[in-house]
Symmetry: C2
Subunit: 356 residues, 2 copies
């Protein structure tokens, strides 16, 4: 008795008095009401060109569909067409949301605009879960796959047959040529140019990275590019950093510690922080030291994290264009596949931490 679950779906209409669960209206219902075949109804509703059905037939079918509130059953349609108007967004972490959310949001918006729907799957970066996620998506006949990484890096994609268009979002994979990344190099340049534009060319401290210490450490490709942009722009401005401090983890605590260290030995004119959280820590240390932002010390940073707008004065930062990237992932998936690496410009967000 317990395996009632095994029974077929109640085939017959429920008893009176129970909640009325009306049956789905099908194409056959529409056709019947219109007095035509399902073939005709299908062709008309899918807007097939070059069919020879009369204008009258069109009118009848549309009227019937509207009056019954017909909606095609996508699963059934998928069976024939292999198209589900569904795409899968597989990411390592939705968790670390500060990063993820923009990507998802952009992709969601793009999907909605293209009349698609998005399956979201999280893998925690664990290969076993990655495999399950891919299979779950493929089982559902998705029209495309987006592999999103929360920190831009090379992503390991398990070696499963994937037969649908695939885009790497905020990451790369040797297996899939299409990837979307922030234009870190130009972003890096922009940060330095911002300082130069404010007349600051001396006394700049780099917070978050130190060539000597970091050699050999793994850093994502994007950080490498960001630094390349920074260094090239510094060279172009004819200046160098007065100090470079690195830390393992770019969290506020470290920004605080590093800044205190800096202040012991010198009096910087500006801090170039590799992310907003480091900058946040720096704010606290500068406050404690009685230094005014931006009069005594200016700050420029990266990410355009939420906290950047909470700080006072607001933090000038080179934003990660996550939303735009997410949107682009969809349009690349759905549009003509251009096997190329797309670099999305990082917006410059001006706030009070830089003198004008």
């Amino acid at each position: 008795m317990a395996n009632e679950e095994w029974r077929a779906w109640p085939r017959k209409r429920r008893k009176w008095g129970e909640v009325l669960a009306k049956k789905r209206v099908t194409l056959a219902d529409v056709a019947r009401l219109a007095g035509l075949s399902t073939t005709a109804a299908s062709m008309i509703l899918t807007g097939r060109p070059d069919t020879r059905l009369s204008a009258e037939a069109h009118a009848k079918v549309h009227a019937a569909a509207a009056s019954l509130g017909y909606r095609p059953n996508i699963a059934a349609r998928a069976l024939r067409t292999d198209k589900t108007r569904t795409i899968a967004f597989i990411s390592d972490y939705v968790a670390t949301t500060r990063f993820a959310s923009g990507l998802i949001r952009g992709a969601l918006a793009g999907a909605e605009q293209a009349q698609h729907v998005m399956l979201v799957l999280e893998t925690g970066g664990e290969p076993a879960r990655e495999i399950q996620a891919i299979e779950a998506a493929l089982d559902r006949q998705v029209d495309g796959l987006i592999f999103a990484a929360m920190r831009a890096r090379e992503v390991f994609v398990p070696d499963i047959a994937i037969n649908v268009p695939t885009v790497m979002l905020n990451g790369t994979s040797p297996r899939f040529p299409v990837s979307i990344l922030p234009d870190e190099y130009r972003g890096g340049r922009a940060a330095v140019e911002l300082l130069a534009g404010a007349g600051i060319r001396e006394g700049i401290v780099l917070l978050g990275y130190n060539e000597k210490e970091e050699t050999g450490l793994f850093r994502s490709e994007t950080v490498t590019n960001r630094l390349a942009g920074i260094r090239d722009a510094m060279a172009a401005a004819g200046t160098t950093f007065v100090a470079e401090l690195s830390c393992w983890n770019w969290e506020p605590d470290h920004g605080y510690d590093l800044t205190r260290t800096v202040l012991k030995s010198l009096k910087p004119r500006a801090l170039l922080c590799l992310n907003d959280r480091l900058a946040f820590g720096a704010y606290q240390a500068l406050d404690e030291a009685g230094l005014a932002i931006p009069e005594d010390v200016a700050l420029v940073s990266f990410d355009n994290d939420e906290i950047a707008s909470y700080l006072r004065p607001g933090l000038t930062t080179i934003g990660l264009p996550h939303e735009e990237m997410g949107r682009m992932a969809i349009s690349l998936l759905l549009g003509t596949p251009t096997p190329a690496r797309v670099l999305v410009e990082m917006p410059v967000v001006l706030r009070g931490s830089l003198p004008r």
Copy 2:
């Protein structure tokens, strides 16, 4: 060449010499290889009890399925069974992510555990998009619907026939009895009890609400409950607020302004902030005034926002149990529907803003 993976799924077998893009393996293939009928294969693979197929048949089918890497086509299965192992998460904003992310994350985790998959849809709270989202989900035969609101409140659910189990997450609707909310009343009590436990019973300022000003203003039900808990606990502790300040929007700027206003006229012993962002602004104002946290002024707040852990000292706060709520939404959907309102306990997160 390189983008062979990109090609559309070929309808017909490709010409000789082209890369062999194997067709999906179907149940019929498995049955054929096992030398049995599809009926037998289906019964065996779905683990149907009480069938009389031989152990040998079981072995053969499983072997065949494994060797072909068979995966059932869920769309086809859904056609018969009406079950897709997919549930839809429809929210007003994923955007304001600080709120949303926990809910999604929890739901995602719950779904994965239950071997389901989640469709995420965003409506921006716009009725037209809500209707589209619901229809898109229903078209795909989802097994359940979750309506999530980013700020707990009554949610307007458009009047469309919905024939699948539905749960309101962080919101309520007269139409759907099952809803999951934070236990704001107990959370409110907890905040006051925290202060009392630290020996603070006088000089407490309430930041974010003022009965006089706020009368008539719309505030969500949960805030009402939170305040009821706060006031009951204050009464139980035999004390009252020394001041109550309200603001329209609970953003850092307002916390800053309100706190400065307070400091002009009195010297509070503690600030009870209605959310972490207000508290964040308060920190800045207290810093400026040279007051030490928690020695001069203690703080307790709500939400356990990300910034709460960045502040120094860390902010003691009553957290929103979003992740747990999301997880619960799934288990309510998939388990026996208990038409009841579920209140999830708000965790007390102790940090340095309260003296010990």
